[in-house]
C-alpha cells in the first residue's frame, strides 16, 4: 500500500449502504499530490459510488474523507468544486442545448465573474484538450470522443487541484484512446492531480503511477500498476475463484518448455 499522505486526499474506512446492499465497505486509500492514481475493479465493484462520495454527490454511511488535512465528508458538490475538486461523469453530461464554448464557460464562470473572462478561459481550455475547432458546435452534435473531451474541458475550466475522471476512455476506439492519453498526462504535468476510474488497462498501465483495486465494495490491493496486475487477489477478482493458481500453473508449465516463452500467456487478453 501507498504511504498515507495527509496533505492531499485520503479516504478513511468509508462505507456506503443502499438498503441491504453494501456498495462500498470500509474502503481506505490515499491519492498523492501530483500523481495520476487509478481506481480499477470489476463491474459493480462500487467505483462510481466511491467517486460519488469523494465528489460530494453521496454521503458515506460511515467513514471520513480528508482533503488537504480538512474533513470534507458530505460537503455538497458545488462547494467541493470551489475548493478545487472537479469531476467528470461516466455517462457524459453535456448541456445539450449549448455550444461547446458555452458548456466549458459554465465551468470557467466558477472563478471568473465576467463573461468575457469566462469565454477566454473556455477557449484556452478547449485548446488544451483539442476542442479548439469545435467551439461553436452544439455539444449535442459531437461524437462520443468529442463529448468526452467536453466533459474533461468543463471540469478543467473550474481550475481544480484534483480532477476525478470517471471512465473518460470508455466507449472510445483504440486510436481515440491513444489521442486522449497524452491529454490526461499533460493535465497532470500542469500541476493537477488526477484520480481516474478506468477499464482500459492499456491506459491504466500507461498513465497511472499508483492503482487501487476495488472488488465487491472493498479495496483488495494497491500499488504500482505492474504490482497490482500480478496480485493473485486481483486476478481472482477479475477472472474468478482459483484463476490465479490456474494461471500460475500454466505459466510454470510453459517455463519448462523454452519455446513457450515466446507465446503470449493465456488470459492476457482479458486482463
Amino acid at each position: 500500500m501507498i504511504e498515507p499522505d495527509p496533505a492531499f486526499l485520503s479516504v478513511h474506512s468509508v462505507s456506503k449502504r443502499f438498503g441491504g446492499l453494501l456498495a462500498v465497505g470500509d474502503a481506505s486509500f490515499t491519492v498523492k499530490e501530483g500523481s495520476i492514481t487509478g481506481l480499477i475493479g470489476p463491474n459493480g465493484a462500487g467505483k462510481t459510488t466511491l467517486f460519488a462520495i469523494v465528489s460530494g454527490f453521496e454521503k458515506p454511511t460511515t467513514g471520513r474523507v480528508l482533503w488537504r488535512g480538512e474533513e470534507i465528508t458530505g460537503r455538497p458538490p458545488h462547494r467541493l468544486a470551489q475548493d478545487g475538486i472537479a469531476r467528470t461523469f461516466q455517462i457524459v453530461q453535456p448541456f445539450a442545448g449549448l455550444s461547446v464554448r458555452e458548456n466549458i464557460a459554465v465551468g470557467a464562470f466558477l472563478r471568473h465573474r465576467r463573461r468575457a473572462d469566462a469565454l477566454a478561459m473556455a477557449e484556452q481550455v478547449a485548446d488544451r484538450v483539442g476542442l479548439a475547432a469545435e467551439l461553436d458546435k452544439p455539444a449535442a452534435a459531437l461524437t462520443v470522443a468529442g463529448r468526452k473531451r467536453v466533459e474533461l474541458a468543463k471540469a478543467l475550466a473550474t481550475q481544480p487541484k484534483l480532477l476525478l475522471l470517471d471512465e473518460v476512455l470508455a466507449g472510445l476506439n483504440p486510436s481515440e484512446v491513444r489521442d486522449i492519453v497524452p491529454v490526461v498526462r499533460a493535465i497532470r504535468d500542469s500541476g493537477i492531480t488526477v484520480f481516474m476510474i478506468e477499464h482500459v488497462m492499456q491506459a491504466v498501465m500507461n498513465l497511472c503511477e499508483a492503482v487501487h483495486v476495488l472488488a465487491q465494495g472493498r479495496i483488495i490491493a494497491g500499488g504500482t500498476p505492474a504490482e497490482v496486475v500480478r496480485d493473485p487477489a486481483v486476478i481472482e477478482a477479475y477472472l474468478g475463484h482459483g484463476a490465479a493458481t490456474r494461471l500460475q500453473a500454466s505459466d510454470d508449465r510453459r517455463a519448462g518448455r523454452p519455446e513457450g516463452l515466446n507465446r503470449p500467456p493465456e488470459g492476457s487478453s482479458h486482463a
Partner: protein
C-alpha cells in the same frame, strides 16, 4: 452587454412607441395596454421557466400579490401609488423567494414544482376571496383621482408608454441576464442540474435568484394591472387565467429567448382579437385556436426554427 445586444431592444421600443400616434381609438389602445401587461407577466415567467427550466403554473401568486399590495397600500394606508407600486413588486419578489425556498430546497422539479406553484396560487386566491383585508369577494376599488402625481392619467396613451417602458426594461434585464454569470449558471441548471453542481454551480441559490427576479417582473405586471383598471378581486388577481397567459406566451413565442414572451403575447392576443372580430363572439373559439397553435408550437418549437430552415436548405 454590447451595442449589438441592446440594438434590437431599442428598435422594438422605438417602433412600438409611435403606435399611439396612429392608433387613437380607445378600444385599440386598451387592447394594446392589456397585451403589454400580459407580455410583462410572461417575461417574468420566461426568466424562471424559459431560462431556468422550472415550469411554474402559479405565476398568479406573484401577479396577484403585487396587485393587492399596490391597491391595499393606497386604499388602506394612503400611500402614494408610486411607492405602493414599488412595494407591490418587492412583496411579489419576496413571495417568490419564499415559494422558491420551500419547493427548491425539498428538491421539487418538473411537474411537482408546477403543481406546488399552482397550489400556492390557489391558496392565495381562496384566502384573498375570504379575507377582509383584500375586500373579500367584493374586491378592491382604487379611488378614481386622475392626476399624474397619483399614477392615473387622462389618456390611455400615457399608460401605454408606461407599460411599454416596463416591457423594455424587462427586455434589457433579460438580455443582461443572458450575458451574466447568473444567466449561464441558470441555463446550466436547466440543461443538467447535476452536471452544473459538479462545476461549482450553487443550484439552489441560482434558482432562488431566478424565482425572485421572475416574481418581481410578473409582479410589476400585476401592479400595473391594478393601477390601470383600478379594480381587483381574487379571481382576477390570483386567477389561473394569468398563470396560463404568463406561460403560454413564452412557450409559443420561444421560451428562453429575449423576445419570445413579447412575440408570443402579441401573437396570442392579436389572434384572439382577430378571431373574435372575424367569427363573432362564439364563446371559446379563441381557446380552440390557442389549443391548435399550442399543438403546432410543441411540434415545431420556435427555438428550432433556425435549425429547421437550415435543414430545409441543406436538403435542396
Amino acid at each position: 452587454m454590447t451595442a449589438r445586444d441592446v440594438l434590437p431592444i431599442a428598435l422594438f421600443a422605438a417602433v412600438a412607441a409611435v403606435l399611439p400616434l396612429f392608433v387613437t381609438q380607445n378600444t385599440w389602445l386598451n387592447f394594446a395596454v392589456f397585451t403589454l401587461i400580459i407580455c410583462l407577466a410572461a417575461q417574468g415567467w420566461n426568466i424562471l421557466g424559459g431560462y431556468g427550466g422550472q415550469y411554474s403554473f402559479g405565476h398568479a401568486a406573484f401577479f396577484g400579490t403585487a396587485a393587492y399590495v399596490t391597491a391595499i397600500l393606497q386604499t388602506r394606508y394612503g400611500v402614494n401609488p408610486y411607492p405602493a407600486f414599488v412595494g407591490g413588486i418587492a412583496a411579489a419578489s419576496m413571495i417568490g423567494a419564499v415559494i422558491g425556498f420551500l419547493s427548491f430546497r425539498s428538491g421539487l422539479r418538473g411537474s411537482y414544482f408546477a403543481l406546488v406553484t399552482l397550489a400556492f396560487a390557489e391558496v392565495f386566491r381562496v384566502l384573498a376571496n375570504a379575507s377582509e383585508m383584500t375586500g373579500g369577494a367584493a374586491g378592491i376599488l382604487i379611488k378614481l383621482d386622475v392626476r399624474p402625481a397619483n399614477f392615473q392619467f387622462d389618456s390611455r396613451a400615457s399608460f401605454y408608454w408606461i407599460a411599454l417602458g416596463l416591457v423594455t426594461v424587462a427586455l434589457l434585464v433579460t438580455r443582461a441576464l443572458e450575458r451574466s454569470r447568473l444567466g449561464a449558471q441558470l441555463v446550466a441548471v436547466r440543461e443538467n442540474e447535476s452536471a452544473a453542481l459538479a462545476l461549482g454551480v450553487d443550484a439552489l441559490r441560482v434558482k432562488l435568484s431566478a424565482i425572485a427576479l421572475s416574481a418581481a417582473i410578473t409582479g410589476a405586471a400585476g401592479a400595473l394591472y391594478a393601477q390601470y383598471f383600478l379594480y381587483l378581486d381574487a379571481n382576477i388577481a390570483y386567477g389561473t387565467w394569468i398563470s396560463v397567459e404568463a406561460l403560454l406566451a413564452p412557450i409559443i413565442g420561444g421560451a428562453g429567448t429575449v423576445f419570445g414572451p413579447v412575440l408570443g403575447g402579441v401573437v396570442l392576443h392579436g389572434l384572439s382579437e382577430f378571431t373574435k372580430t372575424l367569427v363573432g363572439r362564439i364563446p371559446g373559439l379563441d381557446l380552440v385556436i390557442f389549443g391548435v397553435l399550442l399543438i403546432l408550437v410543441v411540434r415545431f418549437p420556435p427555438r428550432e426554427i433556425p435549425g429547421l430552415i437550415r435543414m430545409w436548405r441543406g436538403r435542396r
